[in-house]
């Protein structure tokens, strides 16, 4: 296998006056190697580095040719368009579903309170669930809208945005974990009351309800760990 030729020939000494002037314009640690730029210095003004020209030299040209001739699999753009539209639709539908579900909880409470004989237990449970759902929809919408407008932003802000997004996600997860402190007694109280009203075994209901809570906590904890790892990665690469 042939070795690629080195890109820079450091042994070349440059005594060009234009380069010296260029060096004076740069801070010490931000010097531009004009050999590397391989710009015809006789055609440029001494104080104006030519920066709009593509970076070319023979070795660089070889690399560029290799890079640009990389084979790639042609994409079916029509299928891509279809898939892109489907993904957008899915994201919007999910957000709409969350919003409609939250509204449905409150409609159910009103219906249950005014038109049916739903017990107090169920109404309290639905009420608290509805309030928690509002918080969830608000945060989910906030995160989604933020991510929709991110990608046309200044690239320098992208990592910062990703960092902030990750941090806010961790805060949200902590909030969800914190709500388990309140929701666990609430769910257990609800299960106990409902089982008592219907004269059914309370233990099976407790088992199902607490297993569901435990599963939900496990999923939340998994995402907590995942986001923490992402944050660690972001902080180390930033």
């Amino acid at each position: 296998m042939n070795e690629l030729p080195p890109l820079n020939d450091d042994s070349k000494a440059s005594d060009n006056s234009s380069e010296l002037k260029l060096e004076l314009l740069q801070p010490e640690r931000e010097k531009i190697d004009t050999d590397f730029l391989n710009i015809n210095k006789t055609q440029s003004q001494p104080n104006e580095p030519v920066i709009n020209e593509p970076v070319i030299d023979e070795q660089w040209l070889s690399l560029t040719q290799d890079w640009q001739s990389q084979p790639y699999e042609k994409t079916d753009i029509k299928a891509l368009l279809k898939q892109t539209k489907r993904r957008i639709l899915q994201a919007k539908a999910l957000l709409l579903f969350d919003t409609v579900s939250t509204l449905a909880i409150f409609v159910a409470i009103l219906y249950g309170y005014f038109f049916t004989g739903w017990g107090k237990t169920l109404l309290i449970f639905l009420g608290i669930s509805g309030l928690m759902s509002i918080g969830y929809v608000y945060l989910a919408a906030k995160i989604r809208f933020a991510s929709w407008k991110v990608f046309n932003e200044n690239p320098n802000n992208i990592i910062q945005i990703a960092l902030e997004g990750c941090q806010s996600s961790i805060k949200f997860i902590k909030l969800v974990k914190f709500t388990f402190i309140f929701s666990t007694p609430l769910v257990n109280w609800f299960v106990f009351e409902m089982a008592a009203q219907r004269d059914k075994s309370v233990w099976l209901s407790f088992l199902i309800a607490n297993s569901a809570l435990l599963l939900a906590y496990g999923v939340t904890h998994f995402y907590h760990k995942k986001r923490q790892a992402e944050l660690k990665q972001l902080t180390s690469s930033h």
Partner: protein, 184 residues
């Protein structure tokens, strides 16, 4: 019953939607090669490369209405791609290129060359991509764009940095790349 004004708005919306679709198709067709190459510099696994390509397409679609003609389409598309790729690199755990990935890439055919030349070029391309992926994010960004024969000004526009900084980063990237390629 729909009145004429409503009908007009409906037709206008349909036209805008069709226009967006045709623009998207045109942009993606014209810049597919550029996008694929940029992705290669950031991700080794072909499955993830496809995923990234779809993410970039999704973001181009979303950003399309905000496109103002004060920049070129190429710059606009490349900026979106770099934002997606930078986020991917920052978030992803360092991906380790496996033998199977090398295999899947080497299976791709190189056109217009003898089998020996094609193989040699393929090996050079793989080593180059591998070396680029070992650079840090800033160096990778300028290098992949420079390899696409973009000018300093274009790179600066895409990355929202000064042209002098492009020069500095590119020089450092080339030095590191040289070292990486020499080590192999």
């Amino acid at each position: 019953m729909i009145n004429s004004a409503e009908m007009e708005v409906k037709i206008k919306n349909q036209d805008l939607n069709l226009d967006r679709q045709s623009t998207f198709t045109k942009w993606m067709t014209e810049h597919e090669k550029l996008l694929r190459h940029l992705i290669t510099g950031f991700e080794a696994k072909s499955a993830l490369q496809d995923e990234l390509f779809q993410d970039i397409a999704l973001n181009i679609w979303r950003a399309l209405p905000s496109f103002r003609k004060n920049s070129t389409v190429k710059t606009f598309v490349a900026r979106i791609a770099h934002n997606v790729l930078a986020t991917h690199v920052a978030k992803a755990m360092k991906s380790i290129k496996t033998e199977s990935d090398c295999q899947s890439q080497s299976e791709r055919k190189t056109l217009d060359a003898t089998p020996y030349q094609a193989l040699e070029q393929q090996q050079r391309q793989q080593r180059l991509s591998h070396a680029i992926r070992q650079l840090n994010l800033e160096q990778r960004q300028v290098l992949t764009l420079a390899l696409e024969s973009m000018s300093y000004q274009e790179i600066a526009d895409i990355l929202c940095i000064s042209t002098n900084l492009v020069g500095v980063r590119l020089q450092r990237a080339k030095t590191t790349l040289t070292q990486l390629l020499e080590v192999k």
